[in-house]
């Protein structure tokens, strides 16, 4: 199977799964943005998705994408380290135009994944999982998403720590996407001499657009939490 056995095939799988995850994040971010305007509107969205068949199917698809992207990332890194060989360069100079994030995609990806597990525990476990199984894993109604967001981000001290943790997560994700989006485009063959600088800009813009709604929501709740403290 060329998607597993050929290097361009493997890159293509990374690119497709990564792009699908970016599209999901854009969708997720837009939904979250509702929190800033009306918590009721957000809860309506929560009810609309909840444990309905299409939401469950979507979640499973996203989980599959994450799994594929994760496994391929590890597999590619192992292959690449083997290709590099056991002898490392004693002196390694800075290569012009090579970004730090492009050389550390695995580490950035692993940090993103670690935070993702924390995030799933914070919300998914107490919402969709609770609704599906009927087990009460959280303090509130599984469909009252706004209450969970409120509790996590505005509870004094602990909430503020969570805000900072989530902001760090977004920064790491931005770095990952700043290289990832452009790299995915190149891997799919969507690049040429004229578009090279443009693809770099597109990459940065998409990375910023992805984290922007999430950051706004967290900063909004951080402000609320601090306001309540004062």
């Amino acid at each position: 199977m060329w998607l597993k056995d050929s290097s361009v095939g493997r890159k293509f799988v990374m690119a497709i799964s990564g792009t699908a995850l970016v599209l999901f994040l854009l969708f997720h971010g837009c939904m979250n943005l509702a929190l800033v305007f009306s918590e009721e509107a957000y809860n309506t969205i929560c009810r609309l998705l909840g444990a309905n068949w299409y939401a469950v199917l979507g979640s499973m698809l996203i989980a599959l994408l994450v799994l594929v992207h994760f496994c391929y990332g590890i597999y590619l890194t192992i292959l690449n380290r083997r290709a590099r060989g056991n002898d490392r360069y004693a002196v390694s100079g800075k290569k012009e135009g090579v970004t730090w994030e492009s050389e550390n995609m695995l580490v950035l990806g692993l940090v993103v994944f670690f935070f993702l597990v924390l995030h799933l525990y914070n919300f998914w476990f107490k919402m969709q999982f609770a609704e599906l199984t009927g087990i009460h894993t959280g303090a509130f109604d599984p469909q009252d998403g706004a209450a969970y967001v409120n509790a996590l981000f505005t509870t004094p001290v602990c909430g503020q720590i969570y805000c900072v943790l989530y902001l760090i997560w977004f920064c790491v994700l931005w770095l990952h996407l700043n290289h990832g989006v452009g790299s995915a485009m190149t891997s799919m063959g969507l690049n040429n001499e004229t578009w090279q600088p443009r693809v770099k800009v597109i990459s940065t813009v998409v990375a910023t657009l992805v984290i922007l709604p999430f950051t706004i929501v967290v900063l909004y709740y951080f402000g609320m939490g601090i306001g309540a403290l004062l």
């Binding site: 590619l76 290709a83 060989g85 002898d87 360069y89 002196v91 090579v98 190149t186």
Partner: protein, 251 residues
Amino acid sequence: MDGYINIKVRVWRQAGPKAQGHFETYELKNIFQGASFLEMIDILNEQLIAEHKAPIAFDHDCREGICGMCSMYVNGHPHGPDSAITTCQLHMRKFHDGETITVEPWRSRAFPVIKDLMVDRLAYDKIMQAGGFVSVNTGGVPDANAIPIPKPKADEAMDAASCIGCGACAAACKNGSAMLFVAAKVSQLALLPQGKIEAKQRAKNMLAKMDELGFGNCTNTGACAAECPKQVSLAHIARLNREFLAAKFSD
């Protein structure tokens, strides 16, 4: 103005492919800065021979930047710290008095060390044999203008064809990938009408050979293009991906 400098050269010495390699440091006095880097190595070898020691083995041929034989990873860069040149075009004026210069061979699983700074780059020849050509019927020489080619395409094909196959791309790549080389060799033909007939087979065969020989997977960091002595563009890699994917999807 070019003067004379005293330097230390820290060189990778390895007796053979299976032997354990190590660094050795040599002192050189009064090296003229107008000398080329390889002339400096020649002087060092003269000195070693006079001391009844084995000279350093290194690849070189034309010494004018077109054959692609010279390699050497100098101070952390393939072909040394200057840009867009091969090691043979590097001059000692790029170094200062008292400097310790570290010289290593290409390090990549697909380029095993033969001796000291010499590596086996047959892998690139094998990739070329897998599809880096066009088949033509012999006979009379066709008219040069019989097949019109747009100037921008001809230029880009020529830029790709400037690749000398030295191996700096795979040596610089943190993944040990030969993508820039394969991309240049596929592009120089894919851009021209003469290359269209075998385009699908070429992309598939050359890439399969690259994977088979143990080169890594490209992650688009751009280190290859940054270190390429012929400044082959990263854009060719996107074309190779496109050619390969198009060939696979049409199967």
